[in-house]
Symmetry: C2
Subunit: 293 residues, 2 copies
């Protein structure tokens, strides 16, 4: 196993443990709560958590501080997956190698579990035990909220569903992917600038995450087109079946690959001056482009 | 028109204008955004906004400060109504005298509009232009998030849907109503203690709102059983049709009325020492019990 794969796995384990202890404190044992746990655990690769951690490292922030931010991000990400899988949305029966939440718990429980994970993210960040100043908590929440709502994840999912059957341009696919994936990944990297109180770096770091989001999405499109469903944990060739607008459909394989490579080069350039502390964040971007699942 | 009805209407108008100007700043013109506006405007009576305003008055807080809190609460309330109406939940076609959001915009748009209103509430509270200290913003968000998630609104809705066909006790119906309605109304009244930095009053003020929530719910049950659908703006006798657990079904009309009256007496006692500044909050609780729509 490569160093970066191992580092990502370790981070996922740390974030999972942090989330688990947070869940244990919630003192509730309803089916709704079980559905929330089902949707968030064990989680996928938790790439977003690693983006937070390696961005914190890049800016020299004390390591463990990344955990509440990563935990909040994983809650938001899991919320979006649970809702995306709903019959009224993408109607996907499988996710992360098991039944999607609405298949396992029913539709209304899945909707409520998703929304509860969304609010839990804000609860985690404002928890009195979460060790940031109130100013930092506020900045994190404002940025996370805008990244998650109609100008972020929800807006991207709306475009993904509603633009399906229209003539579509490269620009609107990029806009959709930026909202759907880029905004939250942008928050992951921006959070390091927020927590280290470097306002001047917020936009730069946000953009790095947004670009990583586009790389992630192009790699995802390739995996859907050419990948192995057993490795990925969900059916492949679904973009075609569902008539999804993808960058590789619009640009062709070669141009999409070149586009992703050029984003990666930009990211490397942006992070060069933070070397060697930015090494892991750069490796993560490379990993995201070249992953096989 | 009575003074209290007029005061409630004026507050609704103020909150609506505040929300409108916030929406206008969002610089987006998607169908998703239209669905958010459709779900939140013109809104109902906005009783929750009045609870915030009259609680602020009770604790002598500068009046206009209530607006961002009220606006956030109305976003959360509208989110919960949009999702509650979904086919997978209560399957209601009408709300506030017009088609419910999923009837007017389709199901996926309604789900995304609801979630976007949920995140917008947190965005409003952390907005740099919102005039509270970061400490206050944090306390507001922590309390609002817990009131909205699995221990609050979403948890109550889950109980409402899942307990339908089981043997049910008075205690679990009260628990369900407290989560579904009481927690958010409790936040409305508690917010005044948060904003005035009176931690010692938070629990007391939260409980006042929770009790108002129970009064609200009992009055709602009566309206559903005996009310006029044209006045209310939605079909009546739905609790029976849908096999909903209500307090009047469990207790009978007389005991439910007595219960509501005894909550009202408790509230009056709690607020006595804040007279005359607590007059409007008391009148609001009375109005909620005796309203005809």
């Amino acid at each position: 196993m490569s160093n970066i794969t191992k580092a990502i796995q370790e981070t996922a384990e740390e974030t999972r443990n942090y989330l688990k202890s947070y869940f244990e404190k919630q003192k509730t044992h309803t089916k709704l709560f079980e559905a929330m746990e089902y949707g968030v655990f064990p989680g996928g690769k938790m790439i977003r958590s690693f983006l937070v951690k390696s961005s914190f490292k890049t800016l020299g922030i004390e390591e463990k501080l990344y955990l509440p931010v990563a935990a909040a991000v994983e809650c938001i990400h899991s919320y979006s997956l649970i809702h995306d899988d709903l019959p009224a949305m993408d109607n996907d029966d499988f996710r992360r190698g098991k039944e999607s939440t609405h298949k396992a718990f029913g539709e209304y429980t899945a909707i409520l579990a998703g929304s509860s994970l969304l609010t839990l993210a804000f609860e985690i960040l404002t928890d009195p035990k979460t060790d940031f100043t109130s100013d930092i908590k506020n900045n994190l929440i404002y940025s996370l909220a805008t990244s998650s709502g109609h100008q972020g994840i929800a807006g991207g999912q709306f475009m993904d569903l509603s633009l399906k059957k229209q003539n579509i341009t490269k620009e609107s696919v990029i806009d959709m992917q930026n909202k759907k994936t880029g905004e939250l990944m942008g928050f992951c990297t921006e959070s390091a600038a927020i927590v280290s109180n470097q306002d001047n770096l917020r936009e730069k770091f946000k953009n790095i995450g947004v670009k990583i989001g586009l790389i992630f999405q192009i790699a995802d499109d390739f995996l859907d087109k050419y990948g192995d469903k057993d490795k990925i944990g969900k059916p492949v060739k679904q973009d075609d079946v569902k008539g999804k607008n993808t960058l590789i459909n619009l640009l062709g394989d070669e141009e999409a690959k070149q586009q992703a490579q050029s984003f990666l080069n930009e990211i490397k350039q942006d992070l060069e001056k933070f070397l060697p502390k930015s090494e892991e964040l750069i490796s993560c971007a490379e990993y995201i482009l070249n992953r096989e699942k």
